[in-house]
Symmetry: C2
Subunit: 192 residues, 2 copies
Amino acid sequence: MQQKKDAPLRSDAQRNRERILEVALAELTHSADAPLSAIAKKAGVGQGTFYRHFPNRESLVLEVYRYEVQQVADTAAQLLETRAADRALREWMDRLAQYAMAKAGLADAMRKATSARGTLAGLGHGAVTSAVTLLLEANEQAGTIRPGVSPDDFMLAIAGLWQIDPHGDWQQRAGRLLDLVMDGLRAGAPGA
Amino acid sequence: MQQKKDAPLRSDAQRNRERILEVALAELTHSADAPLSAIAKKAGVGQGTFYRHFPNRESLVLEVYRYEVQQVADTAAQLLETRAADRALREWMDRLAQYAMAKAGLADAMRKATSARGTLAGLGHGAVTSAVTLLLEANEQAGTIRPGVSPDDFMLAIAGLWQIDPHGDWQQRAGRLLDLVMDGLRAGAPGA
DNA sequence: ACCTGAACACCGTTCAAGT
DNA sequence: ACCTGAACACCGTTCAAGT
């Protein structure tokens, strides 16, 4: 039987769900292919309960990753209020890079579990797309980037971030990539 | 017991190895997580034989992908002989895109089986790096791109190619990405 | 030196029985 | 309505026996 649409979960089910997500974040960050059975056990629920909440690995990983990424997305608006559009864009990219490095293990889990190509792409139209749209529009209006760049274009351009090794000097590599992307975006801008 | 270093394989072993690779290419292209046991069976070898040649999934996928990618890499030199440096670079990127789309299933297998971040990165320093080095140096000398771009920079910049869906209008998406990258590379070029 | 295939271990998924 | 945990299926890996 399916869950009635939008019916609130029973309180014990609600708690189970949250405990699973909590444990999953920790476990998947540590090792991208942590067994689901181990997550269930650490969360203190039976196998069946686990599968009631998350019918497959993909749905679990997606949920965890979505929540984590949302947090970076939300900072975009704030940056735009305190800085010039192009500075805000670049700084947001830096934060995204920092985040991608911190959650590298989770991103690996994403890649392996999802059939989606790319970690951000898997989230579909969500908080990240909104944030990027906001930033690009502000820059286009300020004349700091060339017109007609779509959020999709942008996400493809920075895709390299997720294949930088979080150990070693990722700061250098990420910085050089983002500089290159910014130069690409600036090419053909009205205010140049 | 390990294989003696560089000792040639016995002829039947040689044939088995080739048949495995052949079947693996077809099978992995069709479905990224085709069972190794199915590959072994289709190749007509026992489980043990399979594992003698490829001790884990990663080593198999790596070998298949390496060989496939090599073919595109090899066209770089040829392009440089018949075209201006920047035209050659751009055209090579187009071919790489075409290739990435044709072998999308295999690339998925790469991502899932390898711990390496990114499909090209997993190959390490090989034919691709050589090709890119060649192209970048030619362009730097021609003054068509800014100096100091490393092969690593370049590969990160085009990483988005592998997360384009091979169905639908990938031509558009790839084209826009590569245009953006080219603009980024041109920024700060002496001959501008 | 290389091959085979049965045996083993592990993990995802299902389901009968419970509250 | 939700939970449990044993049972099942599948796949990667090993290994004793063979040529």
